[in-house]
């Protein structure tokens, strides 16, 4: 019981450097998200508050919070660099 509670509480702790937000497979660029989710801009926006820094995991093809973690984490070799297509 105590260990289950401890595990649950651990879920609320701050994410560390290995969370998806720091992973090379993850993008939270709203331009890219809108391009990858056709129809999204018809009734909402990746620039909206509700999006809250969520992004797309290019490895697993999922849309998710940057606070998740998984075993496929890969360090971003050059954070902030980009080879993305030009912004719309």
């Amino acid at each position: 019981m105590t260990s289950r509670l401890a595990r649950l509480l651990a879920r609320f702790s701050r994410p560390d450097g290995a969370s998806c937000a720091a992973c090379r497979h993850f993008t939270s660029d709203p331009h890219r998200i809108e391009a990858m989710l056709p129809g999204l801009t018809t009734l909402t926006s990746a620039f909206a508050s509700v999006a809250s820094g969520d992004g797309i995991c290019l490895k697993h093809d999922t849309y998710q919070s940057g606070r998740f973690r998984c075993n496929d984490f890969a360090v971003d070799p050059a954070p902030g660099s980009t080879s993305d297509p030009p912004r719309p």
């Binding site: 649950l8 879920r11 609320f12 702790s13 701050r14 969370s19 937000a21 090379r24 497979h25 993850f26 993008t27 939270s28 660029d29 709203p30 331009h31 989710l37 056709p38 129809g39 999204l40 801009t41 018809t42 009734l43 909402t44 926006s45 990746a46 620039f47 909206a48 508050s49 509700v50 999006a51 809250s52 820094g53 969520d54 992004g55 797309i56 290019l58 490895k59 697993h60 093809d61 999922t62 849309y63 998710q64 919070s65 940057g66 606070r67 998740f68 973690r69 998984c70 075993n71 890969a74 971003d76 070799p77 050059a78 954070p79 660099s81 980009t82 080879s83 993305d84 912004r87 719309p88």
Partner: protein
């Protein structure tokens, strides 16, 4: 099959709250209200600046209007162009394509508002939302609208500005009085609809995450809820595409269906607006439906005023449903990481999302209401009709109608039907069951349980 990672992927900070369009909508909307209040307090008005087509009967009459008001249209367009392009640039969009798209949207909006100002337009069901939507759909799907115009088609940006401006028409006491009722009604409908869609989806063997996205989309706030819940539960991209197609499709159907049903059943403006607020999913689509229904007041056979339909819609939809999206996301992320996640994945629950996902434009709506309540304080009822309304409220209402028109036009123009994902039968069935239950439940709550209240809503 997993996608290949992209080398050197952009890693923008997840803390980009100041970039969110919600805050820019608040800034622009509240600035407009402050400008109106300053002008009013100084004994002047924004009325010259906030031009719009007036009722006309013949083309020569319309052309005369254009000739008389040409400078005013140019001034309004120039100021909106500068404000919107500046905000778009700050959000990270490229300024030149956005500006070009906005000029096109503005010119087409003049055309749309001119058509609806035609004396016979109402008899032919030529309402602003319907014309804007159809024209946008034709542009996007029949003609070849250049792709570089797409950044200017910001449905949500325009509708959020309109919501902030709408706050100026609702005195704060009305919001405080109506808020609890709107929240109770919306909560009942949201919770019941959510669990019906989710249970039907699970009964039909749909994935839990897809079920949760469909349930949130149908019960809270359409596609905004879909992506908020998708992020919270780690949804597959293909499932988001399925949910997008279903939510957009149903939302468009409801824009046409709800106003016609509400009129056919002789609902008053206030009751009909509350029903639309309970049963339509997406904000922009709901405003299109509520504005269309509001246009049936007067000679259209619906009792009440057009504003009553918009007010009751806004209270139920924006105050009653939208503002709880962060809590729904937090609860579902708790369920996802404790019960749905595979062992090799380790999700975190961040309660701060209750605030980060909060639709900030609701704050702008409240601030606008507060400002107008303060500015109009001390004026008698007679003064309100003769002085306050025409010199303070009506210019803001006109700006609001422009913002609504930009948004409705953008809905159609941003929807490339060919690009939408095909819909799976079970997902469609699960969502549709929820829509139908929500329609009945919303009708009962709006017209019977809280009917006397919505009938009497007025500033």
């Amino acid at each position: 099959m997993a996608l290949q990672p992209v080398d050197g992927t952009t890693k923008p900070s997840t803390d980009r709250a100041w970039l969110a369009e919600d805050w820019w909508a608040v800034l622009i909307g509240v600035t407009a209200v402050i400008a109106a209040v300053i002008a009013f307090r100084a004994g002047s008005s924004l009325a010259w600046f906030t031009v719009a087509p007036r009722t006309w009967s013949s083309f020569p009459e319309l052309l005369t209007q254009y000739a008389q008001d040409g400078v005013r249209y140019a001034a309004l367009g120039a100021v909106l162009l500068v404000l919107f392009t500046g905000a778009a640039k700050m959000m990270g969009l490229r300024a030149a394509p956005f500006a070009a798209a906005f000029v096109l949207i503005y010119l087409m909006s003049i055309l749309i508002l001119s058509v609806t100002a035609w004396r016979n337009a109402r008899q032919l069901y030529l309402e602003t939302p319907i014309i804007a939507l159809v024209l946008g759909l034709v542009l996007a799907n029949v003609t070849r609208l250049p792709a570089w115009l797409e950044p200017g088609l910001r449905v949500e940006f325009y509708i959020k500005i309109a919501v902030v401006l709408l706050g100026a028409g609702l005195p704060l006491p009305v919001i405080l009085q109506a808020g609890p009722i709107a929240i109770v009604q919306a909560s009942i409908a949201s919770i019941v609809t959510f669990f019906i869609i989710y249970r039907v989806a699970r009964f039909l063997d749909l994935d839990k995450r897809l079920g949760a996205m469909l349930a949130a989309g149908g019960s809270i706030c359409g596609l905004s809820a879909v992506i908020a819940i998708a992020g919270a539960v780690r949804a597959r991209r293909e499932d988001i595409s399925v949910a997008t197609t279903i939510v957009v499709g149903w939302a468009l159907v409801m824009i046409v269906l709800l106003p016609l049903l509400a009129r056919a059943w002789y609902l008053s403006a206030g009751v009909g607006g509350a029903w639309i607020g309970t049963s339509e999913f997406a904000d922009a689509a709901g405003f299109a439906a509520a504005q269309t229904f509001g246009s049936f007041t007067g000679t259209g056979g619906v009792s009440g005023t057009a504003d009553q339909a918009l007010w009751s819609y806004t209270l139920v939809k924006v105050v009653g449903r939208d503002m709880w999206i962060g809590i729904w996301a937090a609860v579902l992320s708790l369920v996802a990481v404790t019960r749905w996640e595979p062992k090799e994945q380790d999700g975190k629950i961040h309660l701060v999302q209750i605030w980060t996902r909060f639709p900030k434009f609701i704050l702008g709506f409240a601030v606008a209401s507060l400002l107008i309540t303060w500015a109009a304080d001390g004026h008698s009822f007679a003064d309100f009709s003769i002085v306050t309304r025409p010199r303070l409220i009506e210019p803001i209402d006109t700006l609001r109608n422009w913002a609504f028109t930009f948004s409705f036009l953008s809905i159609g123009a941003s929807l490339r039907i060919r690009k939408l994902a095909p819909v799976t039968g079970n997902a469609f069935v699960a969502f549709s069951v929820g829509v139908l239950v929500n329609l009945v439940l919303g009708f009962v709550l709006s017209s019977m349980v809280f009917g006397s209240y919505w009938n009497g809503i007025r500033p």
